[in-house]
């Protein structure tokens, strides 16, 4: 709805192109250098250039104790998708960055093996050689036969676009956590079952051994024990011990903290895979426990086996597959969730972002958005998430309040930052073109967060670790990232500045600290870094600083002291800033609400090889009327500046940074591709409801496109499209009559984009009917495709149609006629201009949505203006209110003739929707007018 037609350039149109649309040549001054990969047919917004795979996919890998890292499956499971991409190599890469402490075994001071309920770790990783960037989600599953009872797995979302990974980090993290939680729940279940079986085996073995020992005892009356008997006794003892151990394990796995399994409930509910699932996942506490127990103990089918004293060697046995490790229901559910993730993040980042913004804005228009928005999916998710919010530990404030507090500024800021991302791409290109020597120019991280919030955790993170000289990593353990995932994803679109991040990056070391996040990336150009760098800073306590100071790097990037050099970069930022502040400013005034933007993985600038990604960061900017935004270079500069001074002034507020940047003396050294940063995350969680504007699936996307295309065709083909659309908008049922089902269905689908909705349920559209219509059909449906048949039933249908002609407009596809009331307004011509220059279906769809959004706004105003509907002072004649209404509609809203009826109808729907307690409980009445109809012909 919000999408303006000018954003639409980012959408891709493939099969429904009617005719190639040749744009007029741009004037010289507007021409920009061509995108270098344009010749390969790639569009400039998808960086598929270096990648060996055609589109994003999900890879599940395992670190097998027998064969090492190996890929298990990909989603979508189609070799065309990943093409020549080396899955084995990439599995090795992603499995080698697992930092979770999945220690199982005999910890000191414990008699029995202990299961560790380890948190998942979330890592962002880039491999520029492969042109692949990945969000990697590590998890461990339990397997009785595995070493230490654990099997490390990881799920990776692999994309050629690192921006996508970075900016969608929180969404990815949240979605993958659901999948992981689901998988782990299933695994625990299967593991418990496994243990039960094993216990039975052991029990049986013990009984057998016991009997054997008794027999031997009896047979042996000589008074001494044979070696055989001693062996048996030992065996018995070890079985006893084993039983105790396994019982302990079973107890542990059953005592898995209940709260953690809530995630799986969510994902199971959400993926709608719950047909026959027993209620245990839905219920949270004891019932499930007992159900589980029952399920595994009462399984009669299992007959215990005798267990050999010597277990099979590790390499003799075949390890269980992932599917075997997990309860089947849960496994299929996980797969469903994963393919959902794949669908969700499919497409270009720009598109994902716009649709996220779009949806976030729509969510705010909760009074009117039901009318024309296709909401089913997003709403479900919202509900689920709302439910989930309280389950998560909330520290700061209740989620709902925070959402109400500051939704609009966030969104707008993200719009701004989105714009800035586009611009920064341009800047980068200029740099590339202009300054050939800066081959390794790369973006840096940026991000801003509330200093106070992060103060504490920064300190915590100053633990040391050696950063690898060749990679930048983002590592997040679940604790940290779960915090992130809760913060508003929209905030992630902003490009705020955070000196602290960089500073902490400079000093922090790689640890397994739970709060740390690393950005990881490799690139072949590491060769450029002189060896002595690595040697001289073995501990790399302050890597960037060291590079900066050293100055021996092959490439220098001197910025800061000399004004001209950062110029280009600055220009970009200067361009950005006013735009953004403007936007946020004026909206801030309008809403009057406090502006508390949250930010996180900021945009990064990079060329194809060098990668610097940003850790997800939150930022809160309290009570600031505007939001300051910086371009990458600047932020990096200034942050470097501060980091070189050590770490004073955490309290720096972002606006201060501009000034400090001027005084920067530090030269920016070669941005070697390999920088390492471990940044901290604010551990304070703001439990706002995650907006995570979910893009709709590709199917609905295609559906929209097709609908738009067909609607466009309809408008061009039929001169009487206007009255037909007017009928739909004013709530008069339009019957599309035709012999051919496909044609009717196509047109009905196309026209359904004009049909206002009653509520959040499906649109009142019936695609194909062959039986005679009844009055209740007109109450229920606003757009009906009707079969014209020669059979008696068909004539019956026609007869019914003529009988109910006052409630319907009839579009006869076969005869190309339309019977409907007259339309003389101005609204529909704008909506459906015959001579429109819009050529693409999706563009037209968005055009329609934006016009309808305006219409909704008018209807909203009309509905909620108090004085229009109620007498202003005491007893007033009804006529006065009526005349006020009429003048408001005409003068204030600029509606003429029949347009008034459209707004009145929409207002009626709004009233119904607003006043009814149980949405969807009461069907709206069938409203109609006694107006004459006319017959239109081509």
């Amino acid at each position: 709805m919000i999408s303006a037609p000018d954003v639409v350039a980012f959408t891709k149109e493939d099969e429904y192109e009617e005719e190639p649309y040749n744009e007029p040549a741009l004037p010289e001054e507007y021409s920009v250098p061509l995108f270098p990969f344009a010749s390969q047919g790639a569009n400039p917004w998808s960086k598929l250039s270096g990648a060996k795979f055609s589109r994003d996919f999900i890879l599940i890998s395992e670190f097998s104790e027998q064969v090492g890292p190996q890929p298990l499956l990909t989603i979508p499971n189609d070799t065309k998708v990943f093409g020549t991409f080396d899955l084995n190599y990439f599995s090795l890469r992603i499995m080698s960055v697992d930092y979770q402490a999945s220690f199982v075994g005999h910890p000191p001071g414990s008699a029995y093996p202990k299961l560790n309920f380890v948190e998942d770790s979330k890592v962002v990783l880039g491999d520029s050689k492969e042109g692949a960037f990945a969000y990697v989600h590590h998890l461990t599953l339990y397997d009785l036969e595995a070493r230490g009872f654990v099997r490390p797995f990881c799920m990776a979302y692999i994309s050629a676009d690192q921006h996508k990974i970075m900016q969608q980090f929180q969404e990815l993290s949240a979605e993958f956590s659901k999948a992981s939680e689901c998988l782990k729940t299933g695994n625990r279940k299967a593991f418990a079952g496994e243990l039960e079986k094993k216990l039975k085996d052991l029990d049986y073995t013990r009984t057998v051994l016991h009997m054997e020992t008794e027999i031997q005892k009896k047979a042996n009356d000589k008074g001494f024990y044979s070696s055989q008997a001693i062996e048996k006794a030992n065996e018995l003892a070890s079985v006893e011990k084993s039983i105790i151990e396994h019982q302990d394990l079973l107890k542990q796995i059953r005592s898995y903290p209940r709260r953690k399994s809530k995630g799986s409930d969510l994902c199971s509910r959400e993926t709608e895979y719950t047909q026959d699932r027993p209620s245990q996942a839905a219920t949270t506490s004891d019932p499930e426990e007992s159900a589980d127990t029952d399920r595994y103990t009462c399984r009669p089918a299992y007959t215990p086996k005798l267990i050999k004293a010597k277990s099979t060697k590790c390499f003799d046995k075949k390890l269980k597959t992932l599917e075997e490790l997990c309860d089947t229901d849960y496994f299929t559910q996980t797969l469903a969730q994963l393919s959902h993730i794949e669908r969700m993040f499919r497409g270009d980042l720009c598109y994902l972002l716009t649709s996220q913004i779009d949806r976030a804005l729509l969510k705010q228009q909760h009074v009117t958005n039901f009318l024309f928005e296709d909401f089913a999916e997003a709403d479900d998710r919202a509900v689920v998430r709302q439910e989930s919010a309280p389950a998560e530990p909330s520290q700061d404030r209740p989620p709902s309040r925070s959402l109400e507090k500051c939704p609009i500024p966030q969104v707008l800021i993200s719009v701004g930052s989105y714009r800035s991302s586009v611009e920064s791409v341009l800047i980068k290109m200029e740099q590339e073109l202009g300054d050939e020597e800066y081959k390794e120019v790369e973006g840096t991280e940026s991000g801003s967060f509330d200093p106070q919030d992060n103060l504490d955790c920064l300190d915590m993170d100053m633990k040391g670790s050696i950063s690898s000289g060749e990679s930048i990593e983002v590592l997040g353990t679940e604790k940290a990232t779960s915090v992130l995932s809760k913060s508003d994803s929209l905030g992630s679109l902003t490009v705020p500045l955070s000196p602290q991040v960089v500073r902490s990056k400079a000093v922090s070391h790689r640890t397994i600290s739970e709060d740390s996040i690393e950005v990881l990336s490799t690139c072949p150009s590491e060769a450029l870094i002189p060896d002595d760098f690595k040697a001289s800073y073995p501990s790399a306590i302050n890597e960037e600083e060291s590079y900066a100071d050293d100055g021996k790097g092959a490439i220098h990037f001197q910025v800061g002291t000399s004004p001209p050099e950062p110029g280009e970069a600055e220009e970009g930022s200067v361009e950005n800033t006013p735009l953004q502040t403007d936007a946020s400013c004026c909206i801030g005034k309008e809403t009057g609400g406090p502006q508390v933007p949250l930010s996180s993985p900021a945009l990064t600038l990079s060329d194809e090889e060098g990668v610097v990604s940003t850790p997800p960061q939150r930022s809160r900017q309290k009570d600031q009327g505007f939001h300051v935004d910086f371009a990458m270079e600047n932020s990096n500069l200034s942050s470097r500046d501060h980091s070189s001074e050590g770490f004073p002034a955490y309290e720096l507020d972002p606006s201060h940074l501009l000034a400090s940047q001027d005084g920067s003396k530090t030269s920016l050294d070669d941005y070697s591709d390999s920088t390492s940063c471990v940044s901290s995350v604010a551990s304070t969680s703001s439990d706002r409801m995650p907006s995570s504007a979910h893009p709709t699936g590709p199917s609905s996307e295609r559906h929209k496109k097709r609908a738009g295309q067909n609607a466009l065709k309809f408008i061009r083909q039929y001169p009487f499209a206007h009255p037909a659309i007017y009928s739909l908008l004013s709530g008069r049922t339009l019957v599309v009559l035709g012999e051919e089902e496909a044609m009717v269905r196509k047109l009905v689908t196309a026209l359904s984009i004009f049909v206002p909705n009653y509520g959040c349920c499906a649109k009142p559209v019936k695609h194909w009917v062959s039986s005679p219509l009844h009055i209740s059909d007109f109450q229920k449906w606003k757009l009906i495709g009707l079969q014209r048949a020669v059979s008696p039933a068909g004539t019956g249908a026609l007869h019914a149609l003529s009988r109910y002609s006052r409630y319907t407009s009839v579009l006869d596809l076969d005869r190309k006629t339309l019977r409907c009331p007259l339309y003389r307004g101005t609204l529909v011509p704008r909506l459906a201009d015959r001579r429109t220059h819009i050529r693409r279906g999706s563009t037209y769809y968005m055009h329609v949505q934006s016009v309808l959004a305006q219409l909704c706004a008018k209807a909203f105003l009309y509905t909620f203006c108090h004085h229009l509907h109620l007498p202003t002072r005491g007893r007033e004649a009804e006529a006065a209110a009526a005349s006020r209404q009429a003048s408001f509609l005409q003068l204030s809203l600029g509606l003429v003739n029949e347009d008034v009826k459209v707004v009145q109808y929409l207002a009626e729907l709004l009233r119904l929707h607003y006043t009814q307690e149980h949405p969807g409980a009461i069907q709206p009445t069938l409203r109609f007018d006694y107006v004459p109809s006319f017959l239109y012909k081509i």
Binding site: P772, H774, I775, S776, Q779, A800, R803, Y804, S805, R806, T863, F864, H866, H867, H869, L870, E878, Q904, E908, R911, L912, Y914, T915, I922, Q923, T925, L926, R927, F928, D929, Y930, V931, P932, S933
Partner: protein, 459 residues
């Protein structure tokens, strides 16, 4: 088919303006009903609607269930299941002032030979009587005596506690089709062609119990009596299958006036055999009356007639108000008349005074309807006579409500909520004044806003 045949015969006589069915275009400026709500609950023909109070009504029909509705929202409040066969009569049982129970009660009679008393507030089945020999076809409540009567093949009298007080002997196999109360503790029962007047005797010191005495039989009707109503304190009216309308004195049960000639086609019997064949007696049967102080509005076949009680003649008519038989008529306060018919439509009429002397008296048209080309001499005789008493009124069609796909059995008018119609297509439709409803919704919206504290009044 028939209609076109007849219509074709009429047009040459210059009666085209009185076409068989007056139609109104799609533009109906005076029709206030611009909103409708379809209520679905029944599985068979819905025959009865009865108003319970200001906002509730009950519906009943051939599926044997009674449904209580909210007339404002169209919400289904209760479904009363108890009868196994179709419901034949329904009546509200007014609660007594003295009675502690204030709940609204209704009585329903069914073809399963039971009568059930329902509590419409709780949906409870209060009591059930199943000792009937025959299906009860009509019910009447006599508030004055606090008894109620059931009429089937015999007439039974019951008190509020459903004790059988008295019972007549078997009257006829066709049974009592209508029953009304008249003064002097009497009731009139229509049994076939006869009207039987019974006197109810309340227990006194002398007699032991209640008694029903047959007082008189009135044999003036030629055919089955279809309708029987009490129009005012002075008279009651009956209408029969062959179009006889008789107005009776309510006290001495004598005929005050009788109208049957002017819609009785019998004069043409011998001369126009061929038409007689096509003509069903149904075309003149009197299905329903309604009345106000001055007039009786009669549904005769497909037509509507307004009979003035003082002038004792028809003052206005629509000979073919509908495509087929008119089943129910009602008078609205604003001189409007609503009729519903087997053709599935509901029409709204307005009784207007004609500006000039009527150029065309009703009976002319009526008789000419049956004449092909040549007007019968004998038939033209009464026409001449009636032309002298020029009609000053006319029924003008101001709107029609099309919604049902089958015969509209009955309707109910709510002053505040509009019109409820029930039909053989199993549906009930609530017709509302769209403008008023819109205003009400708006009011509700602002009320809710105010409740939520979201309403800020601008200065």
């Amino acid at each position: 088919m028939l209609r076109w045949l007849i219509g074709g015969g009429r047009e040459p006589q210059g009666l085209a303006e009185k076409s068989p069915l007056q139609t109104i275009g799609e533009e109906q400026t005076q029709n206030p009903y611009t909103e409708l709500l379809v209520l679905k609950a029944h599985h068979d023909i819905v025959r009865f609607l009865v108003q319970l109070d200001d906002y509730r009504f009950a519906s009943a029909g051939d599926d044997g269930i009674v449904v209580v509705w909210n007339a404002q929202t169209g919400e289904k409040l209760l479904e009363l299941n108890g009868h196994t066969q179709k419901i034949t009569a329904i009546i509200t049982l007014p609660s007594l002032e003295a009675c502690e129970e204030k709940n609204q009660l209704i009585l329903t009679a069914s073809a399963d030979r039971t009568v059930i008393v329902w509590d419409c507030d709780t949906g409870r089945q209060v009591q059930k009587v199943s000792c009937f020999q025959s299906t009860v076809k009509c019910l009447a409540v006599l508030r004055r005596l606090d008894v109620w009567l059931s009429g089937g093949n015999d007439l039974c009298m019951w008190n509020r506690k459903l004790d059988l007080l008295c019972k007549t002997s078997h009257l006829s196999d066709t049974g009592i089709s209508a029953l009304i109360e008249i003064p002097k503790n009497c009731v009139v029962a229509a049994v076939g062609k006869e009207l039987i007047i019974f006197r109810l005797v309340a227990p006194t010191e002398g007699s032991l119990g209640w008694d029903i005495l047959e007082v008189k039989r009135l044999l003036d009707h030629q055919d089955n009596i279809l309708s029987l109503v009490n129009v005012n304190d002075l008279s009651f009216v009956t209408g029969s299958h062959v179009g006889e309308l008789i107005i009776w004195d309510i006290l001495d049960w004598t005929v005050q006036a009788c109208e049957h000639n002017f819609w009785d086609p019998s004069p043409q019997l011998d001369t126009q055999q061929e038409i007689k064949l096509c003509q069903k007696p149904n075309d003149v049967s009197i299905h329903h009356f309604t009345w106000d102080e001055e007039n009786i509005f009669v549904a005769v076949g497909r037509g509507l007639y307004v009979y003035n009680l003082q002038m004792k003649r028809v003052i206005a008519c629509q000979k073919t108000a509908h495509d087929s038989s008119v089943l129910h008529v009602a008078k609205l306060p604003n001189r409007q008349l609503i009729s519903c018919s087997e053709d599935g439509s509901v029409r709204i009429w307005e009784l207007r005074e004609k500006q000039q002397l009527a150029a065309e008296p009703v009976p002319t048209g009526f008789f000419n309807m049956w004449g092909f080309g040549r007007v019968n001499k004998q038939a033209s005789q009464p026409v001449k006579k009636q032309q002298e008493n020029a009609i000053l009124f006319s029924l003008e069609l101001i709107g029609d409500l099309i919604g049902h796909s089958s015969s509209v059995e009955m309707f109910l008018y709510f002053e505040d909520h509009g019109l409820v119609t029930c039909s053989a297509d199993h549906l009930i439709i609530l017709w509302k004044n769209g403008e008023r409803e819109s205003g009400l919704r708006s009011l509700k919206l602002f009320q809710k806003l105010e409740e939520n504290g979201d309403l800020y009044l601008a200065v």
